[in-house]
């Protein structure tokens, strides 16, 4: 048994020495080993992590915007101010009466799913961040607020409704949340743009680092490169070796990056949960999104591979 194993080992090592072990990783240039390979692997790993974080942030922002938009799409808020046009306080009972009348008008409509007068305590709760917890209720005019939810996909004439309500409450205002939503959209748009910008920076950094790495590899092995060229190796033959080498390193780096990125996202999710950050309630990455995150190193590796090819071809054009 022992001699058989030895023989098998010898055959393997001989094949390896020959470079004919159907050697999927055989290179004519001495590309394997060296610290530059580890550096490239690490760099691609880090780029993958950054890319995953940017992409995950982009998914979360997108989900946040969509939920807010959907949540407010069929809703309006009617406010009955607690002061008249001269700024004088209106009696609370009058405000209550106008609010009830307005609610009746709204409730009578066929396209309204729900019209709810907000409890005074709830209104105070909403105002407390601005006015403080210990405000004196009697000294502050509390407006009447009606939250209205329309049937889905109805397009109510808000102006007509406002005119109708103004007959019972002349200073009533209707807030369709458009302003707020457009500000939210602008804000999330800016954040998403930042995520895209980060993606571009990652791509450019990968490109520059890979091009630099390939150039230094080629200048390290200038004599070997020249020899291959003189022996009739085409530019494409030489480029393929560097391409494959870069692709393998990038995929290895990418795999490390995916693991690192997944751990980081898990930690961020946990920390955000513990801190009570609840901007996107119950936000979880979907199957497709997870797949996209896991596959993110592939385009990075492809970019690295193409950069390697382009760099080698450029270097080779300097040879006759």
């Amino acid at each position: 048994m022992q001699p058989l194993i030895r023989k098998f080992r010898n055959t393997l090592s001989r094949d390896r020495a020959l470079g004919v072990a159907k050697g999927k990783r055989r290179y004519d240039l001495p590309l394997t080993g060296g610290s530059s390979n580890s550096l490239l692997r690490l760099l691609i790993g880090l780029m993958s992590i950054l890319g995953m974080l940017a992409l995950a942030a982009s998914f979360a922002l997108s989900a946040m915007t969509t939920r807010w938009e959907q949540g407010l799409a069929d809703k309006i808020t009617i406010e009955i101010p607690a002061s008249d046009s001269a700024g004088e306080m209106i009696a609370a009972s009058s405000v209550q009466g106008m609010t009830d009348d307005a609610a009746k008008i709204v409730g009578a409509r066929g396209d309204v799913l729900e019209a709810e007068i907000m409890e005074e305590s709830h209104v105070l709760e909403l105002l407390s961040p601005w006015l403080g917890e210990d405000m004196v209720m009697d000294s502050i005019p509390i407006p009447g607020i009606i939250s209205v939810t329309f049937e889905k996909d109805t397009r109510p004439d808000i102006k007509a409704l406002e005119a109708e309500i103004k007959e019972v409450a002349p200073r009533a205002r209707i807030d369709t949340h458009e302003n707020w939503l457009s500000e939210v959209a602008r804000f999330t748009g800016a954040l998403q743009f930042a995520a895209i910008l980060l993606g571009i920076i990652i791509s450019v950094t990968t490109l520059v680092a890979v091009a630099g790495g390939v150039r230094s590899k080629l200048s390290e092995n200038k004599e070997e490169l020249e020899l291959l060229h003189l022996m009739g190796a085409s530019d494409s033959y030489i480029a393929k070796q560097l391409q494959r080498h870069t692709l393998i390193l990038s995929l290895q780096g990418g795999a490390i990056g995916v693991i690192g990125g997944a751990v980081l996202l898990f930690i961020i999710g946990m920390v955000a949960g513990n801190m009570g950050v609840n901007l996107v309630p119950d936000f979880k990455l979907g199957g497709k999104q997870r797949l996209m995150l896991v596959l993110l190193p592939l385009p990075i590796a492809a970019l690295a591979m193409l950069t390697a090819r382009f760099t080698v071809m450029r270097v080779l054009t300097k040879m006759p």
Binding site: P30, G232, S234, P320
Partner: protein
């Protein structure tokens, strides 16, 4: 087959190292290239193996004007030329076997053919037991034999050698010259740059003599020609 007309070569903005070179090598011819050090032998060889492009003149190889060839065509042309460099230029990260196999792999030959041919040639040059050795563990003479095997493994149409017997003892030197001669008889055109007057005299071939960047061709010496006709070596 190979024709040079008014070929000149200069490095950068320096003077011409080769001036107005004119010659023609017929298929299957054998020439020694000689001349004093610095005469331009290595430069002329580098033009012949397409390591450089001339700064002027016309070069035709295998019926094609090299100035009109694209990069891939030039690569294919280089595959038809075998070169033994003076400093061997072996790849130190590869075994002797892989070094010799390299031109075949570049040509995309089947692995089985590579295995058979390389092993056979290494046996022939006396390195059958050194197949898996790395070049930097071999002696100068052994490295030179690997370099020669690598140059001839593809049976090139043109074989160029720069001082190929420099590190070899006389016996192996003459044996290798006999190999070159055999390849020549099989139709390979051979040009050997050498200072070795004994070899030049012994083998009756034409001489390309370079002096101060200019070339002239001399017929074989009577002594060499007689030996060649007598088939002494």
């Amino acid at each position: 087959m190979i024709r040079y007309e008014h070929v000149g070569l200069r490095y950068g903005i320096g003077p011409e190292v080769l001036e107005d070179i004119n010659f023609q090598l017929d298929p299957g011819s054998f020439h020694f290239l000689s001349g004093p050090s610095g005469a331009g032998k290595t430069s002329l060889l580098s033009l012949m193996y397409l390591g450089r492009m001339p700064t002027r003149g016309l070069i035709q190889m295998f019926g094609q004007n090299i100035g009109e060839l694209g990069r891939d065509q030039l690569a294919a042309m280089r595959q038809r030329v075998g070169v033994v460099f003076q400093d061997f230029r072996l790849l130190n990260h590869m075994s002797a076997f892989d070094n010799v196999a390299l031109p075949l792999r570049i040509q995309g030959r089947p692995e089985k053919e590579i295995q058979n041919n390389v092993a056979e040639l290494l046996d022939w040059v006396g390195l059958g037991d050194q197949k898996y050795a790395l070049p930097n563990t071999m002696s100068g003479g052994q490295q030179q034999r690997v370099a020669i095997a690598r140059a001839v493994i593809t049976r090139p149409r043109l074989l160029l050698a720069d001082e190929p017997t420099g590190n070899l003892d006389d016996e192996i030197g003459f044996r290798l010259m006999a190999l070159f001669d055999q390849l020549n008889k099989m139709g390979t055109t051979v040009v050997i740059a050498t200072h070795n007057q004994a070899i030049i005299d012994k083998f009756g071939h034409k001489r390309m003599i370079l002096e101060k960047g200019r070339l002239h061709i001399e017929e074989p010496t009577k002594h060499g020609l007689r030996k060649r006709l007598e088939g002494i070596y």
